[in-house]
Symmetry: C2
Subunit: 349 residues, 2 copies
Amino acid sequence: MGGEDEVRNKQVVLRQYVTGFPKEEDMAIISTTMKLKLPEGSAGVLVKNLYLSCDPYMRHPMSAGSGTSDYLPKYYPGSPLFGYGVSKVVDSRSSDFKIGDLVWGTTGWEEYSVISSTDRLTKIEDISVPLSYYSGLLGMAGFTAYVGFHEICSPKKGDCVYVSAAAGAVGQLVGQFAKLLGCYVVGSAGSKEKIDLLKNKLGFDEAFNYKEEHDLDATLKRYFPEGIDIYFENVGGPMLDAVLLNMKLHGRISVCGMISQYNLEKPQGIHNLRQVVAKRINIQGFLQSDHFHLYPQFRHLTLRYIKEGKITYVEDIAEGLEAAPAALVGIFKGRNIGKQSVFIARDQV
Amino acid sequence: MGGEDEVRNKQVVLRQYVTGFPKEEDMAIISTTMKLKLPEGSAGVLVKNLYLSCDPYMRHPMSAGSGTSDYLPKYYPGSPLFGYGVSKVVDSRSSDFKIGDLVWGTTGWEEYSVISSTDRLTKIEDISVPLSYYSGLLGMAGFTAYVGFHEICSPKKGDCVYVSAAAGAVGQLVGQFAKLLGCYVVGSAGSKEKIDLLKNKLGFDEAFNYKEEHDLDATLKRYFPEGIDIYFENVGGPMLDAVLLNMKLHGRISVCGMISQYNLEKPQGIHNLRQVVAKRINIQGFLQSDHFHLYPQFRHLTLRYIKEGKITYVEDIAEGLEAAPAALVGIFKGRNIGKQSVFIARDQV
């Protein structure tokens, strides 16, 4: 330790497993050091992290006893969190990546990470858009919106589409993909500022603040007098129950997540599943990673939309690794407006 | 009234809308008379009813305020119930049916019925099997099992299949279709007699009495140590919650009905829907009537299986229209063993 080629490596580590809403104190910033060379015999790449993404799924591995599912990282107290991010390759033993490459994929919540398995790392080719976009719009969140809407929901022009958590990373893009296809799109979110954003900047036909609605069933009937063809589910709980009452025959629900339930000891009950039979509803859970062969076509389309000014992307970027715990905690309180990412370092080694 | 060509027409009428479990007293047997000729200007057919089918969905239109859904008959106090049945055409103004034809489809709970719309009436061609089969195995229940399993669940050889209400009209056939395809099949039901039936007569690999199990999650883990590929949902409630914890990745749930919930004022909450994302589960509600173009191929296949002795069909046939209310009430208490039908009259006008 302590040689000339060692650098400081600050990390966000999990202090203890979390119950209920995560708090900043559940994480700690620690300072370690590391060499900027992959250790002898180590595979993969060593990267410098530039942006980290704050995503709702990260709540799951913060709980004790998680990690039984195949799609989640497992967090350990004392070790750094993991998540999606944008990074630059500093050393490589992979034939797919060379020093200086920009990549996005799963990385550590720290300044530098060793990524031994590069399967889920994607090289960034087009840098004419901000690099932060690859921690959201052109990364996991945007691809989730694309897959969940275009692949899972079988959408067609004129469909009535409802998106919850619509001002979030995924929701804002689902709504815009749906508008580009010619759908009627209504979104919900939790503040006046977000509702203004949805209606005035993101092009949603209608939007409402769910916190101001006391009868979600009546609210949905107001916005969808003939019912909902497609519901893009991000929240779960009472919203899902109200949606089930308002689906059209043969309606489709793609389940991306249920953020309203992640911090509850026992999830709220869903009481209206009987509607699934009467209305022949399809409910499909999905993960973008199952559809990754579609990533190139998604990237091509979305880059074109961005350059043609057809997609608006709202980011909420926290500054510096020290700000990461508060940024992550904030998404469960709805504090972020748009995609929550964290800026770690500039694109220079 | 009272001419020579008038006959008695006993009817099972709804006495009042029902709350909670239906009781025999919610229905009444009344005696009316009718002519065995279609009235002047009336379309369709006049039929003599031979068998009536008792089905769980009939609970819905017994409630006040029902009938908003497109797929259900609407019952009115003082008027006869409707349901599936086997009938003989006594008079016809339809070019599709002639006097003497045997048919199955929606008819009244009475001795004779005028069926003005014959769209949902199917002519019975093969009478080498008992006529009662067309009120179940070769009618709505059997076709529901076929569609729900083969069309909705995308089954393949070796899949692990779980069927609830497995000794009922639909469940017993789903299990047998699954065994014929080479699946591992476990069923549940509510009595020792039904469990014996499933294991010893219907060929299920395993079966258990859900009333004797105090931890359904543990029970399912015992029978499906590697998880469930396909769940054929007939019951809802806590069983569905336990199943969600035990589905495999990319598991499929076809929702035929949720009989455990039909008599509750407020349906029980389902708490484990988060599993839908982690496991990419598909939940699909369906109605056989949406797939009726497949009926001929279903009939062809099932008649062949019956004649080859590959399908066993267990019926529970009540005798006479007067026994119909008790038979219908009984299916919500699990009293029937096998498909509950009611014998009304022999095949002779």
